[in-house]
Amino acid sequence: MNMLRKGILLLCILLLAAGTVMAQGAREPEREKIVVGVGGWAVEPTQRAIEELGFTEETGIEVEVVTRPGAPPEFISQMTSAILGGTSPYDVIDMEDDVAVGFSRSGWLVDLDPLFDDEFWSDWPEAMIEMTDTWSRHQGELFRIPHNYEAQYFWYRKDILDQHGLQPPKTWDEMVEVAKAVTSGNRYGVSDGLGQGAYLGVYMTYLTQQAGGNVYDMGPEFEVALQFLYDMIHKHKVFPISALDKDYDQVNNDYMQDRVVMMRQWPFFYGVARSDESWFEEDKAAVALPPAGPAGPIAYAASWGWSIPKTAGNVDAAKTFVEFMSRTEHQGYLAQLDTWFLSARKSCLEAMDGAGMAKYLQMYSDAQAIGTRPFHPAGQEAHTVVEETSAAFLTNQLSLEEAVRRGRERMAGLGR
């Protein structure tokens, strides 16, 4: 009898459980789902964009936006093992230039070209197309579609320059003169984050481009740029030697503590400056065109964009997502939502109408001051050679000739 009771009870529980599962299944048909991996800073705006643009309503595809490791080494470790294991934690990934290039050379990314027609590309300015061809194509295939266009801007303290009756410098020589006039005590005319490990190489790439060359050639233009930086530090003493140990946070902090008057910085400084309400005034974070070197006022842009791993669980749904987020009609809304989606696409700048950072992006685009970031297939290794060569000269360990000679030898060893 007791056994019978137990049996009936067990049967009831099983029926109840089965009923619950079936009822849930009937209520909600299973939807396709994709996982989109973005940097921590982009999770919230991406989620909002998906909701407010009605992606799931239109396509029936659900999206989970998750944080991917921000630093390349951890991200590469995670992805490499997953892809070699035949899977991927993300269906769509928001990827930076260097990492995307590495993945594309390994043949890990889906060709996105079939998603976009000629009309789509007509929204793109020439400079962005050139950047995309350099950094997002491999063997003719589009392995990443950029969703932003981050130029480097020349920020200056208009309030301090006004006090001295000075205008923002238009050339390297003027920059030195202005810097000399405003350098005093603990305050330097110019600075930058030049710590090794990314920063110094970026600045040397920027200066060499202004000198008319490609940093990876290590040609005469690189020497001119390196000598110019050396002179600012050691000869004119308008650029702190301590900058060689600083990252962007530290140089931003110097700038906002009134210890620096002019600096190059990425668009994120726009938000950083405004976040300290007790300090910020428009005149304290003004933007001008970069002081022109021998080749003119140029600042290169970098980008982040959407990619799909070939081992993703749902490649078709991922393609639908990438196409949706890249649509011309969505660009204005996305840029208004967050600077992370600001690009120089015509639809984007038109919709922004000079608001926020778009004003400066428009200014740089109109002046054709945005160049394409130099590319080297050996990526990080080539970057390291540039940094070590530059640091050896800037810290007086080697003469310019010797440092560059060694740098060229090492660069030649990397091939091209």
Partner: protein, 283 residues
């Protein structure tokens, strides 16, 4: 009254010893002090020059941390992952160590050597094969899979350490228990384990710290919030606001939350650790 010369010398030596100790403690604790201070310092005061040793204290960084990541879920995952790995590794290692110490099987020395050599294998080279194993077991992105991997990684070291401790337990005690009719599991539980408590506690703590601090396996095998641990969150928080700026205040707050449980654990079990670590040195 003047002290004799030998006493003066002894005092001077002691003063020197304490001074040296103080310097060592200062150097060892300074990074922790700085970490705690940074976690309580407002972001805009973190880079002040000269450094501000007495900033305005705030809990804003901890509040921001909980907004930035699903902190309680990650913390719980870390505890389950570390606790599970410890449980698995210590139980299996203890049994294996007992076998190695007490049962004479041909080739057991070679087996032990292989086990010890496996410790020299860099973890990164095992990642892809492990990935395929976990995928075939449908355990990618699960705490169970992570725990199995970490537990197995901890086993060789634990066995290697525990074998010598099992050998120190007098075999006569076990024989007496067998004579009294005890079964093997009773001998292990009532005789061997109590004699090895300091060693077991030490291994538990060392393994817990290893699992708690492990980044590689959770990074590779966890993809969703449900299985990510606090170590993975460091990679997420590090560039949480922009790809360029570093939120050092939040990073420090996360550092404190990761270090605190370890400090509490080690201080609580200090007596056992010292006893466990020094027992092997006494003949």
């Amino acid at each position: 009254m003047e002290l004799p010369v030998w006493l003066k010398r002894k005092h001077s030596l002691q003063i020197l010893l304490y001074a040296g100790l103080l310097i060592f403690v200062f150097v060892a604790l300074l990074p922790f002090y700085w970490l705690f201070l940074a976690s309580l310092t407002p972001q805009h005061q973190l880079f002040s020059i000269p450094p501000n040793y007495f900033p305005d204290l705030t809990l804003a960084n901890f509040a921001a941390l909980t907004q930035q990541i699903p902190f309680s879920t990650y913390l719980m995952n870390s505890l389950l992952f570390s606790g599970g790995s410890v449980l698995l590794s210590v139980i299996l290692s203890f049994l294996a160590a007992y076998g190695f110490a007490r049962i004479n099987v041909p080739g057991s020395n070679a087996l032990m050597l292989i086990l010890v050599l496996s410790m020299a294998l860099p973890p990164i080279v095992t990642v892809v094969p492990l990935f395929e194993v976990l995928r075939s077991l449908r355990m990618i992105d699960s705490l169970t899979g992570l725990t199995l991997v970490m537990g197995s990684v901890l086993i060789p070291f634990s066995v290697w350490v525990l074998v010598s401790f099992v050998k120190r337990v007098p075999v006569e005690m076990e024989e007496a228990a067998f004579m009294d009719g005890a079964r093997l599991y009773q001998v292990l539980w009532y005789v061997v384990v109590p004699a090895m408590v300091p060693a077991l506690v030490t291994i538990i703590i060392i393994n817990f710290i290893n699992a708690w601090n492990n980044l590689l396996f959770p990074l590779v095998f966890s993809h969703s919030v449900s299985s990510k641990t606090l170590t993975v969150s460091i990679t997420e928080v590090f560039q949480a606001r922009t790809p360029f700026g570093r939120p050092w205040g939040i990073i420090s707050a996360l550092g404190v939350t990761m270090v605190m449980p370890m400090i509490v654990l080690v201080l609580t079990a200090q007596k056992w650790i010292v006893s466990g670590l020094t027992r092997g040195s006494i003949k």
